[in-house]
Amino acid sequence: MKKIKYTAKIKRYNPETKESYWQDFEVEVEDSLTVLELLMHIKDKIDASLTFRAFCRSAICGSCAMIINGRAGLACKIQAKDKIKNGVIKIEPLHHLPVVKDLVVDQEPAFEKFKKVKPYLVPDPKVVPDNNKVESLVLPEEFARYDKQTDCILCMACYGQCNALEGDEKYLGPFQLTKVFRFIMDTRDGMDVEERIKLAEDHGIWECVQCQMCLAACPKGVKPGDDILELRRIAKDIGEENIATRRAKFWFATVFETGQIDKWHLPEVAFGDEKGKAVTKKLEEEFRSRGMKEDEFGPKPFPGIEKFRNFIKKLEKEL
């Protein structure tokens, strides 16, 4: 087995002194180590006080999520040698959660938010039999609608790197919202969709900035950012009226009409009030002062737009 030398740069936190600092560990180890095995090596051979959380060592218990070279992931799933950049691998605890010690974070605040969205099945008496002698059937095509979402192992890698939490610490979080989608899609669930959506809206779906970090972070290929778009679609389809749903409807309508979003009137329509009108008006003034003419303001349908509209209709129907 080949041995390699590199530096593990680890963010430490000492709860007794409340000191937070980076510490370099020079290692010479087999090149086949996972990041978790690297941490175990350091604890074993160099510094027994180094603290991290792990259990299954096989990417299933969800205990060992941390940030490695600025990207969240599972320490037990990631090969250390792939992460050495200029001789260094950087390891720090997940963001947005209080650090208990070194790489261990307190998951409780995220679980509190998880509980808020009622992450469990409320059996629909019309679908779920009232006794346990009869099976509650779910067809494969029904399960397929939320199959991927059930792979979530609650490791919180997505949460530890979510940009919406950077802007609002009360933001529900990616995996919490994926769970809402998962239960809305479940044919056995009896909770009103309206109620589930309400839960997802409180510091939730509208605050997501679609940065895609949760997709990059998830070790199981769950895509919370995509599920959030689906939740927004559902909110719109059950008749929710707000700035975001007005924007989504207008967006689709103008793309259908012209091929492009009419950014010109978007503020007016989305805000739907005097404030929005003022934004559009201000744009208009700015434009005129730049010597632009009215017909340069919004998008114009391109030649052959009819065919494009048919194309969209067909996509909606056939895809």
């Binding site: 609002d168 605050e207 503020p267 340069e296 895809l319």
Partner: protein, 276 residues
Amino acid sequence: MKKIGIYPGCCFQGADIHNYDITTDFLNRMGVEGILLDRAACCGGGVIDETNKKIVYGLNARNIALAEEKGVDLYTPCNTCYMIIAKTKLALDSDPGLKEKINEILAEEGLEYKGTAKIYHTLNLIRDFIGMDTYKSKIQRKFEGVKVAPYYGCHVLTPNEVALDDPENPTVLQEILKPLGVEVVEGYQNEQTCCGYHARFTDPEQKERLAVKPLEGAKEAGADVVATPCPLCHKAMDGYEEPILQVTQLINVACGATPKDAFWDLNKTEVKISFS
């Protein structure tokens, strides 16, 4: 002369129409002929998904097919357009069934998605299409001593499968900035925090809270200006204390344009840097 298909997204219209001039001027100065894909449609912007996510694949298969029809690769300066179009390409190239279905519908417009066109964004266009040597050879003047903080924005580095550089240690933007004679300010606070653009019309306050964060970090690190490749990041982050420009606005001036020709004057926060 090398040719590239210019994909017109929403960053080329409305109040942002000047971005088209910035883009064509940039291509001219690099000696690349830009061919406008004039029947191209919105990439979906992550918003059409809220109506019907399947449409997004079709829209972008069509956008790519328009480039292929003209025998060119597709170039967009926008991070989000890049990410969404690149995702579509990955989906179609790995799913023959989906490709076939979409091609059946596309045939009615006389179009076909073949999968031959590459997807470029300003960063990989300079690195892989124009080439770093050619790029450097076009630079006529330098921003000597000016401190510039690179800001990538999200969608050129996430999700991983479309990242155009190593997402853990991206260097392409720094490599593009260095030949401009600037001092690159790296490792500033919140350099990877999202600009919040996409919350502009879902939760405007969330956008405000986020946009200022990387700017404050750059300012604290002593940067004179932030440089981003993305027109949406630029739009979201212009108007605070620290000025921000699109990297093509800097390049164009370094290649001979006046700051006014590069539309620096449209910035809400004035850019005060000198060049020789």
